[in-house]
Symmetry: C2
Subunit: 249 residues, 2 copies
Amino acid sequence: MLALNSLMTRPMARAISGLVRAGELEAWSAERLLAIDVAVERYPPGAVIAAPNPGVLGLDILSLDAAAPGGRCAPNMKWLLDGWICEARALSDGQRQIFSFGVPGDVVELPSTPHSRVVVALTAITCVDAAELLARSADPDEMLEAMSRSTGLAVARRYEQLARLGRRSALVRLASQLVELHDRLAAVGMVRGEEFALPLRHEELADALGLSPVHVTRCLKTLRQRGLMVMKFRRVSGFKRAEMEQLCF
Amino acid sequence: MLALNSLMTRPMARAISGLVRAGELEAWSAERLLAIDVAVERYPPGAVIAAPNPGVLGLDILSLDAAAPGGRCAPNMKWLLDGWICEARALSDGQRQIFSFGVPGDVVELPSTPHSRVVVALTAITCVDAAELLARSADPDEMLEAMSRSTGLAVARRYEQLARLGRRSALVRLASQLVELHDRLAAVGMVRGEEFALPLRHEELADALGLSPVHVTRCLKTLRQRGLMVMKFRRVSGFKRAEMEQLCF
DNA sequence: CGGTCGTTTGAAGTGGTTCAAGCCTTGTGG
DNA sequence: CCACAAGGCTTGAACCACTTCAAACGACCG
């Protein structure tokens, strides 16, 4: 991997190492990935990432290849190289529900039906189109499998999120969300010791956790007072993962 | 379809008509379905429906066929012919979160990792194994597509559920859940006018909606007083769908 | 007919929201 | 380099939605 690092841009290296660490790609295939010449897309914060192809009705995930007769394809998926995104829905009363966050290395399925769900860049991001990547890949099957493993993990996280919202107190919701993000960031090498970047405002956490921003502030204060973490200037420091997890039961 | 009805058992007919109405199977293929001789499984209320095959890590949905090299298979999926099931998780503090309900005609993916999620029969149920059905089907591709469409709808409902739990009041949560169930039951011909069977206790609704059973009682009372519906003796009557939906915004 | 399970209702408590003000950080222009 | 504005964070006080506890009632089942 040493030789690789000198060849790669940092975000690309991070994303690849993300897939590798999650066991989603064999280590040696990272080299092959680099050989692929694919256009890197850039979006500014706040940009809505829309699907290029009109999707098949209600099939977001499953269209992965079931929809392509006999074929391997990944319609409307992006591989996030750098930056944060979220999947969200704006509700009729002006509120917003954030369904999930996406961090570097994640594979994101863009919604086919436009207004059920929106993918928004929370920071400046760079990503590549999954279908393009597959088309140019020497071993598309392997890469497709890596990608579906990534989206499979996203599915599991969605169940986690349901349990959080339905049956957890505000403090536990926040703590478990932070543990999840910590672990995902750690998997792609974006945690150093007890510290990591977290470019989310209280409002985004609130919209994900079904709370008011004010109460997120208060819960963060509680965590701070208990010495479990400090969130300041878009960074988390002093993150005590073990105690944090214990708090969640 | 008339000729068919005389040949079929009622649950089978209902389930098939469910897939047909949802546009998941061409009408003419219902006949072919009946030709398949597949074992019907029965479970009593409370039974846990476990997966026969150890699953691939974290791949529940996506293993649909991505995991089968070059193949069409549907591991650990059941096609529910009759009765109600739910997907749930028991939390460490004794509480329960119900992720979703399954009604006749639904295709249910059983969890591969046992304790993340459990599928439980809420009533006596009958179902068939999807893989077996496929194996014996003359046109497995078409049937697989129908099934993935069904699970695709389940994915969409999961987003709906997230928004419900995160950003809706108790009354709206309940109303929107009831509208959803009404529509799903209507699609399989299980609604007659403003009436349908709903074999759920307040406790099950509470566990799905993240509320206390007592508060479900109160919300049902409110709906009753507003003349939107009556839920009694495991049946809903006087269900005013339009007003109900309007209440949800 | 009595026991059990589920529903209903009331009263009291609590966790989270809302509103409003002050503060701190960051960015901008003189 | 400072003044100022804007956006986000923080804190307090009042309020409300939902929970918890407890008791009574009703339906179903042996």
